[in-house]
């Protein structure tokens, strides 16, 4: 029981603008135009730049990264909706591009934005989905009733879904993805736009489904979600994997753990070296023009000595932000950017 996923050196280059409407507002690529004055200007975007990953059977695996990092493209390839430019991906033993139909049988997909069949009611969406997967009429009835109950949609089961609220659409999307009892469940930004209550319900559903031995792959740019749900994580940025491991391992890999983002009126040449000498400081990095990122094993207690060191060099501290060890600081450490940038 349980099916793992293997991705080998996966590349995806879009030569036409990706259907961004389909993938949500997630694309923030900058088009790289090929040089050459007389050459026809060609649209080219590298979405995945040689990704290799292994997701184990029965785990909750998270893809974490900012918008446009390549999370949705990875999911797109794994769910047969995007043609890889290079490399291979396997769901269990099935090559997702060569054995599409077999791969589609074992996966369930919750898209970034609900893509429900607006011509149908909530119940019909589940019933027809079950029929597409060859379930018998009795099995469809039983499973759809169960899911409608579990997702608190029973009262609205026979209403057309086009009148549903965002949260309800998301719930029916997830129910639909589970309808044929897939071994692997993909959730692309599942909690985007959900109210806190629905979000907790979603987490509960994901955990329970995982307890049945199912593999779950989700993308998110919420740190707490990744922390709360995922057994292992890969951090993606600009189509590459920056780091992967359990949330605890990843957090432990940050030098010092604490991150102090400091902004001065000016950064004298000697200031970074002076800060580096302070007790507990493991690394000082130049951030933007008048800012420095300090990694240290402590947070608040360092401020006084930082202020003193700065004053000694005629610099004035204007702003401090202290981040405790978290995936957010990890992301910052590797990319120099915040996840929400």
């Amino acid at each position: 029981m349980g099916i793992g996923i293997r991705i080998e050196n996966l590349r995806k280059v879009y030569d036409t603008p990706p259907p961004s409407a389909a993938r949500g507002a997630g694309f923030s690529f900058v088009a790289q135009r090929t040089a050459g004055p007389k050459e026809k200007k060609k649209f080219e975007v590298v979405a995945l730049d040689g990704i290799s990953l292994e997701m184990r059977a029965g785990e909750v695996f998270g893809l974490l990264g900012p918008n446009g990092a390549g999370k949705s493209t990875t999911i797109g390839v794994l769910t047969t909706r995007t043609r890889p430019t290079g490399g291979r991906a396997f769901i269990g033993e099935f090559d997702v591009w060569q054995d599409q139909v077999k791969a589609k049988r074992v996966i369930g997909v919750v898209p970034q934005r609900p893509n429900l069949d607006f011509a149908l009611t909530a119940r019909e969406i589940l019933l027809f989905h079950g029929a597409y997967f060859g379930q018998s009429a009795r099995e469809r009835e039983r499973r759809s009733s169960e899911l409608l109950e579990q997702f608190h949609l029973k009262d609205r089961a026979d209403d057309m879904v086009r009148n549903f609220s965002g949260g309800m659409m998301q719930r029916i999307s997830i129910a639909r993805a589970m309808m044929h009892d897939p071994e692997v469940l993909f959730l692309d930004e599942p909690s985007a736009g959900l109210d806190p209550q629905t979000r907790l319900m979603l987490w509960e559903i994901v955990r329970n489904y995982n307890k049945l031995g199912k593999t779950i792959v989700l993308t998110t740019h919420y740190m707490d979600e990744a922390d709360a749900l995922c057994g292992r994580l890969a951090i993606i940025d600009h189509g590459r994997i920056i780091s992967q491991g359990t949330p605890a391992e990843l957090k432990a890999s940050i030098p010092g753990g604490y991150l102090l983002r400091l902004r001065f009126n000016q950064v004298p040449e000697l200031l970074p070296a002076a800060l580096q000498k302070l007790p507990g400081v493991t690394e000082v990095r130049d951030a933007a023009n008048t800012s420095l990122d300090v990694y240290a094993d402590r947070g608040g207690p360092l401020i006084a000595s930082i202020v003193n060191a700065a004053q000694a060099l005629d610099a004035e501290l204007h702003d401090v932000h202290i981040a405790e060890p978290s995936l957010e600081t990890l992301f910052l450490h590797h990319t120099g950017r915040s996840l929400r940038d």
Partner: protein, 254 residues
């Protein structure tokens, strides 16, 4: 090939079509009814047209009705489902090669086109009153009907995968309207003899073969040889299918 999935997809389309039965019937019936009433009844009864015109008109109206409903049945849902809502995603994820989803759309469109075409006959008969003389050749008529239905829904597939949501109006005024006017639906092809250039130019219009084919197998009005019509429709269907499937794949996979 996974027939269970194919059948489930067909029954989904059937279910949605049944839900919209009344508007769909009105959409498919009203225009042919008005056309046959004005051209076939008012103009012939008042003596502005000869009574034989009814025989020319009936197959033409039937062809238009089939083509319009087939094109609409396939193209319109595809245009919306491939756009913003991506409603079609769920069906693309069904365990079946995605090309079959396009085939399923064509099959469903053909059923609608056939229904739309066949209801025109009794309806037109009623509105035009006496004077319609049918000379029915069932076998050839059935072949032509199936080919016309296929042409209309395969054409719908091509249009549905080519045209953006904002260009629907343009599609009607630039593609559908000229096709109807130069499709030999309201006049037999032979009557274009006085316009030699036009006479051969309209031959690229598939509706010409639909109208003339139905005319030849349904009435005694002058018409293009049925064998030529069948050959042309087979060619057109093959071309539209190849182009439509290719476009569908391009749309479906990024």
């Amino acid at each position: 090939m996974n027939w269970k999935t194919f059948y489930a997809l067909l029954s989904r389309d059937g279910h949605v079509a049944r839900r919209n039965l009344l508007p769909m019937l009105l959409q498919n019936l009203l225009q042919p009814l008005l056309l046959t009433f004005v051209f076939g009844r008012v103009l012939t009864t008042s003596g502005m047209m000869r009574s034989e015109y009814k025989n020319v008109l009936l197959p033409g109206v039937m062809a238009i009705s089939m083509v319009l409903s087939g094109v609409q049945a396939v193209a319109m849902p595809l245009i919306t489902e491939f756009q913003f809502t991506r409603e079609i995603e769920d069906r693309l994820l069904a365990p079946m090669a995605i090309g079959w989803l396009a085939v399923e759309k064509i099959a469903a469109g053909m059923v609608q086109a056939l229904v739309a075409g066949l209801v025109v006959i009794p309806a037109a008969w009623l509105t035009m009153g006496s004077g319609v003389q049918l000379s029915f050749r069932p076998l050839e008529f059935s072949v032509i009907c199936v080919l016309v239905a296929m042409f209309s829904s395969a054409g719908g597939l091509v249009l549905g995968c080519t045209i953006g949501q904002t260009q629907i109006g343009l599609m009607f005024s630039l593609v559908i309207a000229p096709m109807m006017m130069f499709g030999c639906a309201y006049y037999p092809w032979a009557s274009l003899a006085a316009f030699p250039v036009l006479k051969y130019a309209v031959l690229i219009n598939p509706l010409v073969y639909a109208s003339e084919g139905l005319r030849g197998t349904l009435t005694r009005a002058p018409h293009i040889n049925t064998v030529i019509v069948i050959g042309a429709l087979v060619l057109i269907n093959a071309l539209l299918l190849v182009v439509g499937l290719k476009k569908f794949h391009q749309k479906a996979v990024s």
